[in-house]
Symmetry: C2
Subunit: 110 residues, 2 copies
């Protein structure tokens, strides 16, 4: 299913500390690749791999103007993770409700 | 950092639809590997790989009694994802507050 693949890419993109830091930095606003790379002690080609992984996942979009590539966060794609977590909470709440019903009125729910 | 590695493993474990379905199923309560594997059209060895990946990430714990291995969800480990998302929301809120301040009182924030 398309939805599954899409979620896989987002979770995979977030399974790396450098990429999570880039997402956090872009939460403060758009930034150039140079600005984003600055705090990391890795080569630019290595950093660009992370940028491409994030771009492929849809979490960020990039555009080039002259020699500067600017990155921007797509918060809608992070909603994939938020929605999934929210779904799990519903599953847990349903379970808690059922267990509660069982404790307060075991005959009813048998 | 230990925290980073730990989050990496959780995000990586969730970057697969079968493993996300297992997490959802275990949200309803503990279950045996046989019960969990039932909905999936994959071999038991392939399914066991997913179980081990989930176990290594700390998202589930398993215990064996006789021939039955039972799995249980560790919701505390899913909090790694919830907490990270929550952190990003704070970053976005701060940014929105700053932008708002800039619009309502540009002199103040200069």
């Amino acid at each position: 299913m398309a939805n599954h693949d899409s979620a896989n890419e987002v979770f995979l993109a977030l399974a790396d500390p450098t990429r999570r830091e880039v997402i956090r930095a872009l939460g403060r606003g758009p930034a150039s690749v140079g600005e984003l790379a600055h705090p990391f002690a890795i080569t630019l080609p290595s950093f660009m791999k992370h940028i491409r992984t994030l771009e492929d996942s849809g979490l960020i979009r990039t555009s080039k103007s002259g020699r500067v590539r600017t990155c921007i966060l797509d918060r809608d794609r992070l909603a994939v993770v938020e929605d999934w977590i929210e779904e799990q909470r519903h599953v847990w709440d349903d379970r808690t409700d059922r267990l509660e019903a069982l404790v307060t009125d075991p005959e009813e729910t048998r």
